[in-house]
Amino acid sequence: MTPTALLTTSTPLGVEVAWWVSLIQALVIINLVMVTFAYLTLAERKVMARMQLRYGPNRAGPYGLLQPIADLLKLLNKESFQPAAAIDWLYILGPFLAAFTALTTFSVIPYGPGWNVGGVYIPGQVADVDIALILIFAIGSVGIYGFIVGGWASDSKYALLGSMRTCAQLVSYEVSLALSVLGVVIMAESLSLTDIVAAQDGTLWYAVPQFVGLVVFLLAGTAETARAPFDLPEAEQELVAGYHTEYGGMRFGLYSMSEYINLITLSGLCVTLFLGGWHGPGWDGAAWAGPLWFIGKLVVLLYLFIWMRTTLPRLRYDQLMRFGWKILLPVATLNAVITAVVVVAI
């Protein structure tokens, strides 16, 4: 396979996808993801508030529905302050890199079967890459640079400590995350997300045979997106705010956005790998229902993450490392090995 072949988009019918279709689709998806991010922040604050017997934001617009817009305007209006000793271009590059990689990964996640509208073929995802799973992990790893570079370039001990924590945590949990996915890859015999979704059609979703994998994936994913109870990179009590201590205004907004979009992508990936992707439970409904199933499962997962954040207290740093290396990693490895043995034996 030549390197260029990896990036061509293939369709089941062998129909070429027109470049302008992909362009429009990319624009639509990016904006949809950003809107999801905006309202995820609101939903998180609302749900968390209700779990703590509060109302949450309810002043901007009816039920606080305009709160994300108010937040955005506030961030945009802020002075983009920069520490005098910061390394200029790296300081600016950090949030850009983080946001870019976060937005890129969603392009390979399938959300529908693909549609033929008036002779124009619209694929079910922006780019159907053969090795989509590896691509996601690769881009995710590049995204870590955004966190490290930003924390290091701001010339502050808190930011540096935060970025070191982020780095250590993301690197340790990425191993478990990748291994937890391996079971699914072995069962579906493919790295393409389209194939993995197709392999779950009509049979049990991989959440059942790969239940251990799902649990490990969710736990490692929580750590990977640095959310409670694994939100050590931004433990306010110890570090001021983590790697983005010295960032303000929309640059901080970009970091915050990249974290939330990473969470959305991760949930999307979880839906794709373990929960049957855009397929309904045993019944798909109309051809246009695919995205709705996908969004429904996505919302459930995002709710789970918010729920987890309200419930669980933050781990200590040694607990985090012990949990990652001594519990998650062996379990994920065992799961992958057992899956491989079972698949070969059957």
Binding site: V47, A49, R50, M51, Q52, L53, R54, Y55, W307, M308, T310, T311, L312, L315, R316, Q319, R322, F323, I327
Partner: protein, 165 residues
């Protein structure tokens, strides 16, 4: 760390149950919680029933003030201009609300109960100058009204420092 999966699940149940309970938030600008009868808020200066000011300009309140926010300039009462029943009256009486810590010492120091701390707490202003209250403002009825909890239920008939001595 000893993993306790059952305890963790119990925690999830607890947080989930709270969603169906009514939030206990008091939504402030719409609902103002009644202040207790002895709440120490914005100051008032008082007059006698015959219209004379109770303040005689002795500056004891200013002396008692730990934040040094009271300024009193006294002047002699004359036959043509009788403001207070005493020898002197306060020509200028200013309280700088941006310095006041609402300790109530001025109220305790006053020999004539001329100054008391009222119940109003919404005294935020856009300018620091507006926070300097003059005598006229302190003598006038406060513009904003504050709900006060009933004195029978929330106040003792006699302050303890008076009964104990």
């Amino acid at each position: 760390m000893s993993p306790q999966p059952l305890g963790t699940l119990k925690g999830f149940a607890v947080t989930f149950r709270q969603i169906f309970r009514k939030p206990i938030t008091q939504q402030y600008p719409e609902y103002k919680r009644p202040v207790y009868p002895r709440f120490r808020g914005r100051h008032r200066l008082w007059k006698h029933e015959n219209g004379l000011e109770k303040c005689v300009g002795c500056s004891l309140c200013a002396a008692a003030c730990p934040a040094d926010c009271i300024r009193v300039v006294a002047e002699e009462n004359t036959a043509e201009n009788r403001v207070s029943p005493g020898e002197r009256y306060a020509r200028i009486y200013e309280i700088n609300m941006s310095r006041c810590i609402f300790c109530g010492y001025c109220e305790l120091a006053c020999p004539f109960d001329a100054i008391t701390l009222g119940n109003e707490f919404e005294i935020a202003e856009y300018s620091r100058d507006d926070l300097i209250y003059t005598k006229d403002m302190l003598l006038a009825e406060p513009i904003k009204r504050v709900p006060v909890a009933s004195r029978e239920r929330f106040d003792t008939p006699e302050p303890s420092y008076k009964t104990r001595s």
